[in-house]
Homo-oligomer: 298 residues x 2
């Protein structure tokens, strides 16, 4: 039987593999690691890169445990005395406005032998949406999903549209991707090992998926006005993470490690009252594509 | 008997007076106004200034009404069929890192003849805390409070410490000020007219209180490193407003006018992983003063 320690160990290795690949992609900087402990048990390794191409990137691993608080039990609607949670979380903010922001998360949660689940997702936030690029990104995710279940991509693609959504703007965060939560043997006709394999496949899809959008854009020149638009779009990223992202909010409200949680915020962001990109510009085209339900794969 | 229309009219005039004074203080720019209507009734006037000295400032007036939603009734723990709400909200982000950010709000809420209250507050967020300046600011607020009740300043000063608090950082937003909510004749030994007079006095304190910190600093030269610190401190302002500010969150979650609500965000902000100012610097000194319970008035 798959033990929580095995899952944590696999996630830890995944963090190592991803960091190595990203250091190679950036080519100018290495990750800085902060190892930290949680008072109630376990801890994590927060890794930050500040390179020439990846302006600010965080790849966080944690495996923590402790008594299940009333707040946690209420939030989850589950009972149990203790919890265990492990996962890898990534957000990369590139220097170039022509390279998309990317996010990936895989996680496992356990409260008792019967109460456990996997969750995770990957989503892409281009500052400038390129339809072919979005299509290619979604194709990679679909292939990963299809290896486990051909229902997964359509289900989890829709879930991402609904989750990565700025309700107050009626805008999606970017071109979406996949999102899933609370996958377990009760809800899915899968064994725990199969679900774990799926989640690890999602984790392993991160590097090739990001490499594709990174390498085709990182050498392109960009203008100051494209940079300004990037700052503006990053403002939306901040709004999503601080207002709507459940993981961020739960972490901040329950005394998680603030600097690890907020590693997802960009180095700089911009707000401008009632800004509207001029019609017919690439910025306006991107704005028009920030909506739910677009089937990127033909 | 004081009618809601009278209160709204007084708040509308207050907005006019404050905008005129701020245009004069900035001296380079005028407010731009967007008038808007709410589908269920009433509307507002959002006014934005983007000047040489006030980089981004918003002075919002609104008087809205409509059916009381279940969410609203649950949030307030009150019953009633319809609600009415009017108020003036201000946030100013100055260009100079040596001039503080300021916030002011006065508001009146009504759900029935018996269910109504006033709320509001003023608080100051210097990028660099100057103790004399903070003391002078608090003295002005105390004088305003004392005109109504000598208990108000200590009560509302503590309330501000607790409200303008970034729990996830264990940091206050700035040097505080006063905050109060749900003042009515049941809870205070005051008439409605007296409470209204108090709230208007708070509103009228805004201009002299801000003028004092603005005029003594606006002509001082500042360095790029001070500017960087300003961006960093603005990041905290964004965190407070999006994560903790009840008015902002309620507005965004219930379909308020997003651009009017988020006028409080700065033009630019910065995040840096695990940044700590060097000991002994003015930045570290400011950081050390971001805590509750400081009695600025000796």
């Amino acid at each position: 039987m798959l033990q929580k320690e095995d899952i944590a160990a696999a996630f830890r290795s995944l963090q190592d593999d991803i960091c190595r690949a990203l250091e190679q992609m950036d080519g100018t900087s290495l990750f800085h690691e902060d190892a930290w402990e949680m008072a109630t048990g376990g801890g994590g390794r927060t890794r930050i890169i500040q390179g020439e191409h990846i302006e600010k990137g965080g790849v966080n691993f944690s495996a923590v445990e402790g008594p299940a608080s009333e707040a946690l039990k209420k939030l989850l609607g589950e009972s149990g005395d203790r919890f265990f949670a492990t996962g890898v979380s990534i957000v990369l903010h590139p220097s170039s406005p022509l390279v998309p922001i990317i996010h990936m998360n895989v996680r496992y949660f356990e409260m008792s032998e019967k109460v456990w689940w996997f969750g995770g997702g990957i989503d892409l936030t281009p500052h400038y949406i390129d339809k072919d690029e979005a299509q290619n990104f979604h194709r990679q995710l679909k292939e990963t999903c299809d290896r486990t279940d051909s229902d997964y991509y359509p289900r989890f693609k829709k879930w991402a549209d609904d989750y990565f959504y700025l309700k107050h703007r009626q805008e999606t965060r970017g071109v979406g991707g996949i999102f899933f939560d609370r996958l377990n043997t009760d809800r899915e006709s899968k064994t725990k090992a199969e679900l774990f394999e799926f989640v690890m496949n999602v984790g392993r899809t991160f590097v090739p998926a990001y490499r594709a959008v990174f390498e085709s854009n990182v050498q392109r020149d960009w203008t100051d006005s494209e940079k300004q638009w990037q700052y503006y779009r990053r403002g939306r990223y901040v709004e999503f993470n601080l207002v709507w992202d459940r993981g961020t909010r739960f972490g901040l409200e329950t005394g998680g490690r603030t600097e690890s949680i907020l590693m997802s915020l960009p180095a700089q962001a911009r707000w401008q009252y009632d800004f509207q990109p001029e019609e017919g510009t690439p910025e306006a085209e991107t704005q028009n594509l920030l909506r739910k339900g677009i089937e990127w794969i033909g």
